[in-house]
Every structure is written in C-alpha cells, then in structure tokens.
Symmetry: C2
Subunit: 216 residues, 2 copies
DNA sequence: CGACGAGTTGAACTGTTTCAAGTAGTGTGG
DNA sequence: CCACACTACTTGAAACAGTTCAACTCGTCG
C-alpha cells in the first residue's frame, strides 16, 4: 500500500476528521488514537455507529458512494495515514489482493453494524450495556491493551449512550447495576471487566471466534 | 458475470434461504420475489436488518468472513441466481470492474445499515415508521412498482415492527396515526403514500439523491 | 364448521427519559 | 491563591413513550 500513501496527518482531540455531507476525497488508516464515527439528525440527535481505533480503515464507503453519510471526530489525538481516493480503481485493477482485503474490511464493518442494529433494536438497556462492554473489551484485547480485564477507555459515558440509543442518565444507572453485580466497572477512564462470561450471558450474545483483520 | 453463474434456485414462500451460523458456500442475486434478512438472539427475539428485493446481492459478507451472521427467509416465492463462493477470488483477479461493483454494493449496504441504526437508536416510533415508509417507498419506486404513491407490499406488520425495534401493537397504532394525519396508509397488503414529503419531514430525514445500483 | 394468522383497539403496566440538584476535577483569570 | 466557569459523572423523583395483556374482527384454509 505504501506507494498509494499520500501522507500522514495529525488531528488533535475534539477535532473533526470527516464531516457528514462533505465530499472528502480521502481514505485513511488510523495509525494511532481513537475517535467516534456518528450520524446526526437535523435536530441535533446523534447516533454513534462505532468507535474508531488504530488499524481501522475509513472512507471506503464515501469513496464508493460519492457521499459521506457520517462524521468522524477525534476523541484522543489521532494520527492518520492518508490515501488518495482516486487511486482505488487502480488498486482494484493492479492489486487485487489489496482490493480483496479492503472489501473484507467493509464486509466486516457491515457485519458489525448488523450486530449493533440487533442490539439497539432488541436488547434492553442492561443487555445493551453488557453487550457493548464485551465488544469493546474484545476489541481492546485484540489491540493488546487489556491487562487482566482492565483497560483505559478514552470515551465519555455520553458516547456510550449515543452508541446504544440510551439516555446518558440511564446509561449511567445501568453501569451502576453492572458494578453492583460485580460484572464490570468504569471509573476515571478505566474499564474493568471482572466477568466477561457473565456479561456475555447477560447480553444474550453468542460467542464469536476472532477474525484476523488484514492490515491496510 | 454469466460464466460464474452456477444455476438458479426457486424458494417457496416461508422457506429459509440462508441460515444463521451455517457455512453456505453460495452467493445469490435475487431475480424475483422478496424476503427478509434478520438476526436472531438465542431467546428468540429477532431483528430484521433489511427487506430483500429483486436486484439485491446476498452473501458477500459470508463469503468474506467465513461466518454468516444472519438468516434470510423468503416472504414471497423467490428466484435466485446462484454463484460459487470460491470464484470470488478469481473475480477480483480477472474482473476488477465486477469486483469493484460488488464492493460498491457492500458499501451501499453498510451505508443503509448505518441509517437504520441511527433510526432505531434515535428516532421515536412515529419517526421510525415514517422513515421506513419513505425508504420502502423509494426502493419500490426504483423497482418501478409504485403507481402514484401506491404499491403492494408483501410483508406483515410484524416484520416492520421487527425491523424498527418496536412491538407489533405499537407499530399498528403508529400506522393508524399516520393514516389519521393523511400521510400514508397500509391495508390489505397495499401501501399508499399520500404525502412523501410530509413523511420525510416528520421523520427528520434529509433528502438523498438516488444512486445507480450496478447489476451483478 | 373450527382453527389459525393477521390486523385492530383499549387498558394496565413498566422501562426509560426528562427534569432537577449536587459532587468532584480541571483550567482560567484576577 | 482563590473564585469562577465548565465538563463529566451521579442520584432521586416525576413524567411518558412504548410494551404487554387481553379481547375482538375478519378472511382463509382444511
């Protein structure tokens, strides 16, 4: 991929990376830092569709559809590797393995959104929060950031609420319930998963085997 | 695509096309008929992720991820064109334009799931149903099945409820509200959209330009 | 004819939201 | 160094949107 690389950019925390509706001609890979990907309704409500983490590949959707359906904002400072959108076609033509990997990532993203939709559509607040903690925990573990169930998590409770379609207040109270049950806690930016299996069962989710993410 | 075609299959209404968890080695294009794509939780709750219609391309996700995350069931009798999963790689290698189109479809699917997630996560029941009617109406119009806002819709209200994360009863009552307001009606398998613009505004959704779907 | 699926409507209940008030931590400026 | 503003989190109580339960209609199928 290296000769498609245009450069690197740094985005400081709180700043927008991609703005909904704009026609950003770029594709990114996240080298470092985290952010949120979200959609906003005209009246201000916003839905976080996922948390963006190192290794994520952003912008394929826009590049293909000529229309960005979401915004991305950096939560921590981020470093992104930038590709030229117009090179995608060249990639499909000359580097089918890379194109294949990129498609794999999009499929995997779609898969995740399907799970998230089922969660928000069908699960109760307690189940949703438990589900989110399992998913986030597993993703952080893949990144090697989990030490014995403990990892630091840079987002706000409001972000989790926006991701799960719950109010901030209820998200907070639900987290308190999980804490009381000894399943997990989240305080001062640190999440502690005491009982992943218990959370998983509470969330009525089945075990999924880990997938190997291709690197772009 | 024609020499990747393995054959055609017919599925009668009510039958499963793809079963969650199974490893179906096939890809399909819907030639005719409609169905639902859904995910089930272990305790039986189910979330419809989308309505499957003619022209839809199914199975890319599975083929890529080696794991099917959803089921598909035929609502009306369906005719599907079957491809061999193992040919995907050949396609990327020898027919980059086709691979590009397939990726485009996956991106477009992802885009839709993002909208659906924002709907289920943020919109009220009234807004959700209005949103769904606009989306469904537009999709049916693309298929050329809408005559002056009127089209026949083979699904049950329970299906719409499962798609929107609402109970059947409340979905029904919400439809009644839209009928009372003169925006749309749905009776005996026929949907009438009297005021698409009114529905769109009620749903707090912005206008989107139509995209050209590639045919697979 | 009886059983069954789909739709409809009313009434009771409840999970979640909204409102409200307060704590703790952090940064800013006088 | 203290007052002030501001953001994140926490907790209680009131309000309400949506669920659940229940009963009834209508058409279809065997």
């Amino acid at each position: 991929m290296s000769h498609f690389k245009v450069g690197e950019i740094d985005v400081s925390s709180g700043q927008a990376v991609v703005i909904e509706g704009a026609k950003s001609p770029q594709l990114f890979t996240v080298l470092d830092g985290m952010g949120v990907r979200f959609r906003t309704l005209e009246d201000g409500r916003s839905q976080i569709t996922n948390f963006v983490m190192p290794g994520d590949f952003i912008g394929m959707q826009d590049a293909m559809l000529d229309d960005i359906g979401y915004s991305i904002e950096a939560t921590t400072p981020m470093t992104l590797c930038v590709f030229r959108r117009s090179d995608i076609w060249t990639l499909f033509r000359n580097h089918p393995e890379r194109a294949f990997d990129m498609t794999w990532l999009v499929c995997s993203e779609e898969h995740f959104l399907g799970s998230a939709l089922a969660t928000v559509g069908q699960r109760s607040a307690l189940e949703r929060v438990a589900w989110a903690l399992v998913v986030i925990h597993d993703r952080f573990r893949q990144l090697g950031r989990v030490d014995n169930g403990v990892f630091s998590f840079p987002f706000r409770q409001q972000d989790l609420a926006d991701a799960l379609g719950l109010s901030l207040v209820h998200t907070n109270k639900t987290l308190a319930k999980l804490r009381d049950r000894g399943l997990a806690s989240w305080a001062e930016g640190v999440v502690r998963v005491f009982d992943r299996e218990g959370l998983r069962q509470l969330a009525v989710m089945d075990e999924v085997e880990r997938k190997v993410r291709p690197l772009i």
